[in-house]
């Protein structure tokens, strides 16, 4: 139904011949990765293995550690870990050689605002010691793909938000990195540029391991794999389909004239976990442990005539349900009782 880049449905990515057939597949192995800023623990023991050419989405609330994880993988931070290997390098050691293989797009625009588009690319090429012919060819290709060719001489600071981000991505792709790290690359970007940036990343999917954090549900849906972070730890990983399969929730929609009234009425049903009005329907969630079965739920929802329900339908789970299930399973503890080495899983639920 929804496709970000074009009218085609995404599907699994094909095993295309990689542009860099000689480059080894990127491998990241993290065990017990920790990062602390003074008293604040940003990463509290990350265990994660990522390999192959794919798009990995890092999701989770603000403060979960997404930016810190990405910056750690970019070789920008001093970290502690039992193991932290990326592309054959130890991230706890000297990362100078490592960084030559990593493209990084931080959340805030960090290129030179007073240099033009072309000057920025040239600057990066020089830093990376990219041979001139490679630069000419690669920059031409990336500029065409981003639609930035007409703007090559414009100062980067004068570009729109979406174009700035496209330039940042093009900049990171210049030297064909094996690993591409992006921190919320489309946050606040206009809806057209968001699709264009996603299309750029999909094209690179066969050539690199791409790790990006995002808070957009539609982007999470299109990732090959998701890593859900919360409280500095990995809560869950898997393909969107695998995560969906693990969510013990049934999703329904009850349509009518008064969705807010419907949501309120639906919440009165004993087995309904949550109901919320959105558009012309109420989105109703039922936990699998307590469900009386779809037939009964549909019957009960339709019977909410007083609330104006006209139809009810059972829906396949969407990314919102998946992330909801993951978010509500985390426990929150007041700072005063927080255990440093604790995993938070066995603390009670807070709603």
């Amino acid at each position: 139904m929804t496709d970000l880049a074009s009218g085609k449905s995404p599907g699994p990515h094909p095993e295309e011949a990689a542009e860099e057939s000689a480059a080894p597949e990127a491998l990241i192995r993290l065990r017990g990765l920790r990062k602390r800023y003074g008293r604040r623990i940003a990463l509290n023991g990350i265990d994660l293995t990522l390999e192959g050419r794919q798009i990995v989405g890092i999701v989770g609330p603000d403060g979960a550690g997404k930016t810190t994880l990405i910056r750690s993988l970019a070789g920008l931070l001093e970290i502690e870990a039992e193991e932290a290997t990326a592309l054959g390098h130890d991230l706890r050691g000297d990362v100078t050689a490592y960084k030559a293989h990593v493209g990084y797009v931080p959340q805030a625009f960090s290129l030179h605002r007073d240099l033009s588009v072309m000057e920025n690319l040239r600057f990066t090429a020089r830093l990376q010691r990219l041979p001139p012919q490679d630069f000419t060819q690669r920059s031409k290709e990336l500029l065409a793909r981003t639609g930035l060719t007409p703007f090559v001489d414009r100062p980067a600071g004068a570009l729109s938000g979406g174009m700035k981000q496209k330039l940042a991505v093009a900049n990171a792709l210049l030297f064909r990195p094996q690993l591409l790290l992006l921190d919320e690359p489309t946050a606040g970007v206009d809806v057209m540029a968001r699709a264009e940036i996603w299309a750029m990343l999909e094209r690179e999917r066969a050539a690199a391991l791409i790790i990006m954090s995002t808070s957009y549900l539609d982007e999470a849906e299109h990732c090959d794999q998701l890593v859900y972070l919360d409280g500095g730890r990995v809560v869950a990983t898997g393909t969107p389909a695998a995560l969906r399969a693990g969510v013990a929730i049934e999703l329904y929609r009850a349509w009518g004239d008064n969705p807010r009234g419907i949501a309120q009425a639906a919440r009165q049903l004993a087995y309904v976990d949550g109901a919320r009005a959105t558009g012309r329907f109420a989105r109703v969630e039922v936990r699998r442990q307590t469900t009386p079965g779809a037939a009964r739920v549909l019957h009960d929802l339709r019977a909410l005539h007083g609330a104006g329900v006209r139809f009810a339908e059972a829906r396949p789970l969407d990314m919102e349900s998946v992330l909801l299930a993951l978010a509500s399973s985390r426990a929150w503890q007041p700072a005063s009782t927080q255990r440093e080495a604790g995993n938070g899983k066995d603390a009670g639920r807070s709603r």
Partner: protein, 324 residues
């Protein structure tokens, strides 16, 4: 003035807009950040104000709440001329900025006391008001926590609670759900919907276009200009095919169902499993006819598909660029 459908609000449309901006313009030197913007917000509604970074969204809000003087145009909020009395309007409204303004080093309760002092809320009145908010916004356990230790979801709710402490009739919320997980985002929108239901007008901006469906009205701004301004339902009607309704039917019912649905008009398709019809809106006539069809065939299963708001706004941008 058209009353938004499906909102469940009980506010008379003849009350007149509670926020009115006409010909609002802001120029910074040669650059026009906001270009002749005119909007009206009805009381007790949730008004979604959408646009990318750099679209003029933030500049507009700052003008609406009296933080920035426009170059041209007029603004009225709850009967106050904002350009003449910018400070007065800020005492009158509730505002929650992009970074929730809780003072670090103070507990949540200490923040409440501080803000209450600013609004002149004290003693019993404050106790009652905060007590009610604390309950409704599920902030009970966290009063004594230092505000910097609060997780994102609780901070957001605390921010909203503080913005309504003095019971303003109008709330301005600037990207209140940014950085908050999906679970807390949903809770937050429920709270906003409750406020609107109680008659509070909520002017809210968001990057998450699908949140438009929580609102009664959506105004989309691009390059300083309004390029869409309507109910979510009407936007769906104008910028998508509307709703695709599929009825899965047992054998023998297809003909009868198709005959009933053909009364709606519009493209109707027969499939192996049943009948499919596309309707631009779910107006009463359509709902009634669908209900007749499903009552006549109780084993019918209804599925309704609608375009995502992201796709709708993409279409808005494309069509605006084409000049249509």
């Amino acid at each position: 003035m058209q009353r938004p459908t499906g909102a469940g609000i009980d506010v008379t449309p003849t009350a007149g807009p509670i926020i009115r901006a006409a010909g609002l313009t802001k120029r910074f030197g040669d650059f026009t950040a906001v270009d002749n913007l005119s909007i009206e917000v009805q009381p007790g509604t949730i008004f979604a104000f959408l646009g990318a970074n750099g679209s003029g969204k933030s500049t507009t809000i700052r003008m609406l709440i009296g933080l920035l003087q426009p170059t041209a145009g007029s603004i009225e909020v709850d009967g106050i001329d904002v350009i003449q009395h910018p400070r007065k309007v800020r005492d009158h409204i509730g505002y929650m900025g992009q970074k929730v303004s809780l003072y670090a080093g103070l507990s949540l309760r200490e923040n409440v006391d501080f803000y209450a002092g600013l609004y002149g809320l004290t003693g019993e009145q404050l106790q009652q008001r905060w007590g009610a908010l604390r309950e409704r916004f599920s902030l009970g356990d966290t009063e004594d926590e230092k505000s910097e230790d609060l997780p994102a979801g609780i901070r957001q709710r605390a921010g909203l609670a503080l913005s309504t402490l003095h019971q303003p009739r109008v709330l301005f919320l600037d990207e209140p759900t940014a950085g908050v997980d999906v679970y807390n985002r949903g809770l937050f929108w429920e709270l906003i919907q409750d406020e609107a239901h109680a008659g509070v007008t909520v002017f809210v901006t968001t990057h998450f276009l699908e949140e438009t469906d929580y609102c009664d009205w959506a105004c989309f701004i691009d390059a300083g200009r309004v390029i869409a301004n309507d109910t979510p339902e009407q936007l769906r009607r104008r910028y998508s095919v509307g709703y695709r309704v599929e009825l899965t039917l047992p054998a023998g019912h297809h003909d009868r169902c198709a005959a009933v649905l053909s009364a709606i008009g519009g493209p109707l398709t027969r499939t192996v499993n049943g009948v499919q019809i596309t309707v631009p809106t779910l107006e009463p006539r359509v709902l009634d006819t669908l209900e007749v069809a499903t009552t006549a065939c109780p084993e019918a299963q209804v599925h309704i598909e609608q375009a995502e708001m992201t796709d709708i706004f993409r279409r808005v941008l494309t069509e605006t660029a084409k000049g249509t």
